[in-house]
Amino acid sequence: MKEFARRMVGIDRRIIFLLIAGAVLLPLVKPFGLPIKVSPEVKAVYDYIEALPERSVFLLSFDFDPSSKPELEPQAVALLRHAFRKNLRVMGMTHWLTGTGLADGVFSKVATEMGKERGKDYVFLGWSPGGGSLIISMGQDLYKAFPSDYSKTPTQGMPVLEGVRNLRDVDYMVSLAAGSSGIEMWYVFGKDKYRFEMAGGSTGVIAPGLYPFLRSGQINGLIGGLQGAAEYETLITQKGTATAGMDAQSAAHFVIIGLVLLCNVFYFMLRGEKGRPS
């Protein structure tokens, strides 16, 4: 028995790699389509946007780069579709230099799909350095922080920005964050002083750390990881890549849970043995 356990523990890890690749591949090729349950923290974001009057100003900050594209791009697409459907004026930007091209791509794609016009219905401001200083700068005077947008059009006098002087005139903002220069930074340097309502969308890695902000109302909603994106897609009843990925996600989680259980079974079988550290 112990011999078996020892041999099983020692198997080549590349076999496990194959197992996980299979668990992800199969459902992607042949999805089984389980229903997706919506959590209150995602619903809160949806409800807030749903209640905004037309032409309200919505700021979406892409605070991520290609390394978290699979999680945050679907969130961005779903939020943009919703905002454009509600005829909001959308401002986009990013704090993450290497994510600029990605953000611009998502913006152009969704805007074209929804028949929206750059400069009139939306503007992509691009990247600018500074982090917290950039947010303060936008809170004081948007046109000093971004004299021109990503495609080098001067921001002053743009129809989409009519009546917008600084962050105080933003009706709702969502930061899609993959790290600390995201939601937390937007609160500390932005909402704390300029009092706009905001929510967050994040990768799974940082989502648990944002719950204290959710509880205290510092953010009014939170979209966490691929599951959060799938929930949002369910709410706007337009399925996208997140919903498509959830079956693979389920399968992969169950494989991991199975592996953890096996690991511990073998561990307890071998524990009494001499010479092995506990």
């Binding site: 002083k193 009092r195 890695v205 940082i206 750390g209 092995r276 550290p277």
Partner: protein, 407 residues
């Protein structure tokens, strides 16, 4: 003729008003400069009335002087715009709780300028009936201090004082009592076991450079480990991914051997550089673990995604693993794969504990005072708030407001 008609009109309208319940104008209406702001804004305050309802609306009319033309700038149902608990601290209230409060800001439709006196009237309407309030005047001005945030400033000042005092105290006596840290006790055990088994000790200082606090802490702990290693005559291996950290660590290890009275046992190549690339470094360190099977692995400093690859391999070779990091995203992996983990601030505490450097010890002590204070505020505050509900008093807000965030 005209006079008669006028009198008749007066008489009949008087009758009309008397016949239906009259609409009372807002009471206690005042206009003030909005407190704690950058100017160009006025605040309106009036008493709440029991007859406020959503069918009764209030209009705000503004003029540049009492004689000038009035202009409607806002309209809302009369049962809205109250001062709610938590809007203002008790020391900076423009109006009492439950009163009406409206802030008028300068807009394109009606610019408000600092230093000019404006006249404001309120109009109450319900159905066909109307009633004007008294006229009130106010002059906007920018303020030099936001009194609502005075508690924030007090906190900053008090914390500065505590911090400076603790650092000064630590300079006088760096051996203030600090609690035992479990992970540190394990260090001795790990080194002892390596000696017994005749296998090397592997020590990693993490991904950071010398400007990062966790890296500094990691080098401090390395010094302590090296002293014990020198004492036991075990071999130490420290692979690096930053040349500057390597240079610093060479000095530290050398000094530790000298201090332990074993300068002869010091080997220059115990610190060595691998590469700065994250995954290539990881692959190389994994190779060392598999080939040389160190009996103890130390992971101190800041880590990213490579942590799991390192600790998993280490666990499979059966080494005792001790980790210490403040990279919270990697901590769950360290806890499950290592035997002991110094969590977050424990790493800093460990370095202060070992080095006894006054600034480190003093800062740790200062933060401890801060934490003790916050812990008592949380417990006592909850107790007061609960008693307040039970007794039905709001007097405790005089204390509780001090620890809230106001704008």
């Amino acid at each position: 003729m005209n006079v008669v008609a006028f009198l008749c009109l007066l008489f009949f309208s008087g009758v009309a008003v008397a016949a239906t319940p009259s609409l009372a104008p807002p009471e206690g209406f005042r206009v003030l400069d909005t407190p704690n702001d950058s100017g160009r804004s006025l605040s309106l305050v009036w008493k709440a009335s029991p007859s406020d309802s959503k069918n009764r609306s209030i209009q705000v009319w503004l003029a540049e002087s009492p004689g000038a033309a009035f202009k409607k700038v806002a309209e809302f149902p009369s049962n809205t715009r109250y001062v709610k608990g938590g809007d203002f601290p008790w020391w900076a209230q423009p109006a009492g709780k439950g009163a009406h409060y409206v802030k008028l800001s300068s807009s394109q439709a009606f610019p408000i300028e600092d230093g000019k006196t404006y006249a404001v009237k309120l109009l109450v309407r319900e159905g066909e009936q109307e009633a004007w309030s008294e006229l009130a005047e106010g002059r906007p001005a920018p303020n030099f201090f936001n009194t609502a945030q005075v508690n924030n400033l007090m906190f900053v000042l008090a914390f500065t004082g505590v911090l400076l005092a603790s650092i000064a105290a630590a300079r006088r006596n760096p051996h203030i009592r600090l609690r035992r840290i479990a992970g540190l006790d394990a260090v001795e055990e790990a080194i002892g076991r390596s000696t017994e088994m005749g296998r090397p000790i592997l020590y990693l200082t993490g991904a950071g450079d010398m400007s990062e606090v966790p890296t500094i802490a990691a080098t401090v702990i390395l010094g302590e480990v090296a002293k014990k290693v020198a004492h036991y005559d075990t071999s130490l291996k420290v692979p690096h991914r930053d040349p500057i950290v390597m240079a610093v660590c060479q000095e530290i290890v050398k000094e530790a051997y000298v201090e332990a009275g074993r300068p002869d046992a010091y080997r220059e190549d115990s610190n060595f550089f691998i590469t700065s690339d994250q995954f290539s470094y990881t692959a190389a360190v994994d190779g060392i673990m598999l080939r040389e099977k160190p009996a103890a692995n130390f992971f101190m400093g800041s880590y990213f995604a490579e942590s799991l690859l390192l600790t998993e391999t280490g666990a499979s070779t059966g080494a005792i693993q001790i980790a210490g990091t403040d990279s919270d995203h990697q901590l769950p992996f360290f806890v499950t794969t290592c035997d002991y983990t110094l969590i977050g601030e424990e790493l800093y505490a460990a370095s202060a504990y070992l080095s006894r450097e006054p600034v480190l010890v003093g800062t740790l002590r200062g933060q401890d005072f801060g934490k003790a204070f916050i812990m008592s505020v949380l417990v006592l505050g909850t107790a007061l708030a609960t008693v307040g509900v039970v007794v039905g008093t709001e007097n405790f807000n005089y204390v509780l407001d001090l620890f809230k965030d106001f704008k």
